[in-house]
Amino acid sequence: MIKLNVKDRDGEQHEVTANDGDTLMETLREFDWGVAAICGGMCSCGTCHVFIAEADLDKFPAMDVDEEDLIDMLEFSRDGESRLSCQLTLNPEHNGVSLELAPDE
């Protein structure tokens, strides 16, 4: 069981259950407060942008250059916290991870 603590754009907290092997984006788009993820996970649009809590960041693999470049161009990106949720595949190690949805661009 993977449970995540997610703060939505209105500051409301949600406990979300995710499936092993799904991306974080796939998990988050299932909610009406979730991410838009327009490009469907191609690292092309930046509409699945999230902030990962500092303590949990190293549970995910480092960014590749495409993700880094795209995040760099987003208005609301935060150094060291921003990730594109479509690039993050979840496994049981991510149980308890905290994150926040970035504002819409």
Binding site: R29, E30, D32, G40, M42, C45, D69, M73
Partner: protein
């Protein structure tokens, strides 16, 4: 008072309309009519990840039934809508049942251009539009199989790239003199054409497929210059057109697609249109445009919902598109206009940015493996401000510094 919204078409545009209606606080009924049997799914992976076996069917699903139930979106698969009665405010399903609406969203997408040749019914002749089409094609793309693709547009080229990755031999036949002639800027098309050649794809330009040969299964195709190509699998990638035949005699205004204003409103009261089937007024363009893309489907879905909710939002977002072929990610924004000057930025190996520059503003940009340029370019196009040609061409200046 709008109590029931009926959405015809459960693709990206239809689903987005439904989701956005709920997000906007709509409390009436939302009925989403899909022609296929499946839950709403995304099409971009069909020619890529699905063919290569990287995505399961499940992975293409845009929203699960649980989500639709929670949102009180009444999704009805296998619902073929055949007519609109705008007087009665109802649509007719195959079999004669009618569904009444207070507001109607036409989101029927596109249908394939089909060209019937001798041999078109043989086993091994494929089109690619639906997930079922993709799964069927995937079964046939075994290593060593000879694939002939008719049409060097996005679908044809993405399938060609996927098939090469699967170990197929690939030939592409195109009536024009190069690839992606309808939408890609010349340097981008040339870059990708080279890439396909270096991956082993053979092109036949300025040629038409005239006949498909075989007993029960495809064995070969002939071209209009007499060339005969041995083949086991054919893909016809001949483009699409708006799926609007069912609206004939409804009184709805149609040109190439259903004509809508910048709020997705048609000429009929209470009737809206979104996505591939719509031809829309857009604040950036003088003439209404048909945009076949995920972005347009999503943007117009949101606009339809806003219009139904009585909000004043209009279409201003520059159109954007993407494609993937091999390790080339092509990202495009805006629409090139006649008379534009092309400006190239050299980005180093396996990367290219081409800007389509009007008299006083950036009209479009197309990038291969250059997401920084792409994201900044999108903003430059949206801003519509004066940009200097010299600085655009200077690869040492970041595009975001021109904002």
């Amino acid at each position: 008072m709008i109590k029931t919204v009926v959405i015809v078409g459960a693709g990206q545009a239809g689903l987005q309309t439904a989701i956005s209606l709920r997000q906007g606080g709509f409390e009436g009924r939302v009925i989403l009519l899909g022609a296929e049997s499946r839950l709403p799914y995304q099409r971009p992976p069909l020619s890529k990840q699905v063919l290569k076996g990287e995505f399961t069917e499940e992975k293409c699903t845009l929203r699960q039934q649980d989500f639709l139930d929670a949102q009180k979106i009444e999704f009805r698969p296998d619902s073929h809508v055949i007519a609109l009665d705008a007087q009665r405010r109802a649509v007719t399903l195959e079999g004669g049942r009618m569904v009444d609406y207070d507001a109607l969203v036409v989101a029927t997408g596109s249908r394939l251009n089909r060209i019937q040749l001798g041999g078109s019914l043989l086993t091994g002749v494929n089109y690619l539009r639906t997930l079922d089409d993709a799964l069927q094609l995937r079964e046939q793309l075994k290593p060593g199989v000879r694939l002939v693709v008719a049409g060097a547009g996005y679908i044809g080229l993405e399938v060609a790239a996927s098939a090469r990755a699967l170990g197929c031999e690939v030939s592409v036949i195109e009536a024009q003199s190069g690839i992606m002639q309808r939408s890609a800027l010349d340097p981008i098309a040339a870059f990708l054409e080279d890439r396909h050649r270096s991956e082993g794809v053979t092109f036949y330009f300025n040629k038409l497929m005239t006949e498909i040969h075989g007993g029960r299964e495809v064995q070969a195709v002939s071209l209009d210059d007499g060339t005969l190509l041995d083949a086991e699998v054919i893909l016809k990638g001949l483009g699409v057109q708006p799926e609007i035949a069912w609206l004939e005699d409804s009184g709805i205004e149609v040109d190439r697609g259903v004509l809508v204003d910048e709020h997705c409103r048609t000429n009929l009261p209470g009737v809206f249109a979104a996505g591939d089937c719509a031809q829309t007024h857009h604040s950036l363009y003088p003439e209404p445009v048909v945009l076949e893309s995920v972005q347009n489907a999503v943007s117009q879905g949101k606009l339809c919902a806003a219009a139904i909710l009585g909000q004043d939002v209009s279409y201003e977002e520059p159109p954007w598109f993407w494609s993937e072929q091999y390790d080339c990610r092509l990202q495009m924004a805006g629409l090139p206009q006649p008379g534009d000057e092309l400006v190239l930025r050299e980005n180093g190996p396996n990367s290219l940015t081409v800007l389509s520059l009007g008299a006083d503003r950036l009209n479009a940009l197309q990038c291969i493996n250059a997401p920084r340029d792409y994201m900044a370019g999108r903003k430059l196009i949206a801003a519509g401000s004066q940009v200097s040609r010299e600085r655009l061409a200077d690869s040492t200046t970041e595009l975001k510094d021109l904002l």
